[in-house]
């Protein structure tokens, strides 16, 4: 749905050059929620702004819904008609909402429809419909200043959806909100993604955002994408920084003759209560040192660090059992350095 290839953005000011994006290849599939995470200055903002060409990339291409936007760019800083039309089919929500303070909530939502040249009756019908969708049907006549942060972002989302986009870009949409409101806004984005089949590309610096709604994620550092993939793929990648951050497990062995094992749950195998099966089958005591698990759609996703009695040599059979269940198992050596047993 969104593909960037070799995207590079270099800012030049007073002879200094700053490379914000350094050959970014991103592929967002239709209907998924894709999160790009990174620290400030990693280039996330430049990336999302390049997707609808609010920032013009120095080189590389951006394709959204099969249309090469970089080819539409035209010359100079002004956007041509074709590019503006393409932008109207891409919704965008912002960290600071960017609502017009001089307009009511309804008029704010009608703004993109005014730009599209829709009639007054059609605009107000659509605006009220969208307000209903985001749960603010009673706020049509309010001004943004009278709303809370979460309500403002709901208006921002309704406005972004006014032109019936297939793609929604979210620029740190929850970063100015408190944790509770963040959850409700993420839930709304998730619902919209499911109900409208909306493809969502979001950037964030909060791992929780990725954890709670993203199907896929990419980690950005210094203008490059360091890791990317679906959450399952990331988990299956030994040594994945993103997986470690998403599902952090910790804990040291309680004694010298213990075996510490990291078990990664993803896919179909994760439906079975494997740990208790393991304990019953081999009659061993298992301690759980740490776990980071989420249940997504009935499947358990995440990692768990368990401790088995005895040395590694004593535990070859139980570990083999876990692998037979389709789990990925990494043995943590006494020095807690990861032995990449799971690597093929």
């Amino acid at each position: 749905m969104i593909t960037t290839s070799g995207l590079t953005k270099v800012y030049r000011s007073r002879g200094r050059e700053v490379t914000a994006l350094d050959g970014v290849d991103l592929h967002v599939r239709e209907g998924e929620v894709y999160g790009v995470i990174g620290q400030s200055g990693a280039g996330k903002s430049s990336l999302i702004r390049c997707v609808n060409l609010l920032e013009r990339p120095t080189s590389g291409t951006v394709t959204v819904a099969g249309q090469d936007l970089t080819a539409l760019a035209g010359r100079g800083p002004r956007a041509g008609k074709e590019l503006r039309r393409a932008r109207s089919r891409i919704g965008m929500v912002f960290q600071h909402f960017n609502l017009l303070s001089s307009r009511t909530v309804q008029d704010n939502i009608e703004l993109p429809l005014e730009i599209l040249g829709k009639s007054g009756k059609e605009r107000s019908r659509r605006a009220l419909e969208l307000l209903d969708l985001v749960g603010l049907a009673d706020k049509a006549g309010a001004y943004p200043a009278q709303l809370s942060g979460g309500q403002k972002q709901r208006v921002g989302i309704a406005r972004a959806l006014a032109g019936d986009p297939k793609v929604l870009l979210s620029d740190e949409a929850t970063s100015a909100l408190d944790p509770e409101t963040t959850r409700s806004i993420l839930q709304l984005l998730r619902d919209l993604n499911r109900e409208l089949g909306l493809t969502v590309l979001l950037i964030t610096h909060e791992m929780d955002v990725v954890k709670s709604i993203c199907d896929s994620a990419a980690l950005m550092e210094m203008g490059r994408i360091v890791e990317s993939g679906t959450v399952g793929e990331l988990l299956a990648t030994p040594g994945s920084e993103l997986a470690a951050a998403l599902f952090p497990v910790d804990g040291d062995a309680s004694g010298p003759d213990r075996t510490v094992v990291d078990v990664t749950f993803h896919g179909e195998a994760a439906t079975q209560p494997v740990i208790s099966q393991l304990a019953r089958t081999y009659n061993i005591d298992i301690s759980i040192l740490g776990a980071a698990l989420d249940t997504v759609g009935g499947l358990q996703v995440g990692r768990m660090r368990i401790e088995l009695p005895g040395h590694y040599e004593d535990n070859v059979v139980p570990i083999g059992f876990l692998r037979e269940q389709g789990l990925q198992v990494d043995v943590v050596s006494p020095e807690t350095a990861l032995v990449k047993e799971g690597a093929k």
Binding site: L54, S88, S102, I115, G163
Partner: protein
Amino acid sequence: MTWSEMQPLLSQACWDTLYMVGWSTLIAVVAGLPLGILLVLTDRGGLLQNVVANKVLGQVVNIARSMPFIILMVALMGFTRWITGTTIGREAAIVPLAVGAIPFFARLVETSVREVDGGLVEAVQAMGGNTWTVVRKVLVPESLPSLISSTTTTVVTLIGYSAMAGTVGAGGLGDIAIRYGYQRFETQLMWITVAILAVVISVIQFAGDLAARSLHRRGGRSGQAPTLRLLKARQPAADVSNAA
């Protein structure tokens, strides 16, 4: 001088002042608003970035602003005659008043428009809006309270200028104050004129503040205080800006 002698003089002068100031304000707003917006748009990083045009416009505005009004009036005599056919009277005074007020108002517009959050411009661009949409739907409506305050400031300044215009035969309150009050030692008339001017300016400032504040209350973005307040009713306008 008795009141019955003064009264017709004063009412004519009042009318002349309002006439001159009214027309020159209208012209200043019509010409100064686009000029001020252009100063923002053509600036570095603006939507119509054009460094050369920006420098030229800025210089023209600076030169016009730096000229003392009385000099401007004399310097423009040829131009005034070309437009109105005369250099005397209230119609003739409108020309230098307007020319003096255009760059003044344009700078105030520039300041107001610059305060509009760049994120709003970006949002409208992301919706597919062009530069004209940005100006019409964002820059002007979002800076409206501040633009109204700027207009008030311009009107008050123009009333001051119009008194100077009075010295070259334009009529108006300033003319009365100088001709009768100063030159003929009609001190009483002079003070009455000054009092009328004070009342007129207060009323205009009050009306302007009221209009700006009512718009502001509705919008309630971070506070842009009106630029000049002679009559400052310290009403709790501050709580509006904190509501967000």
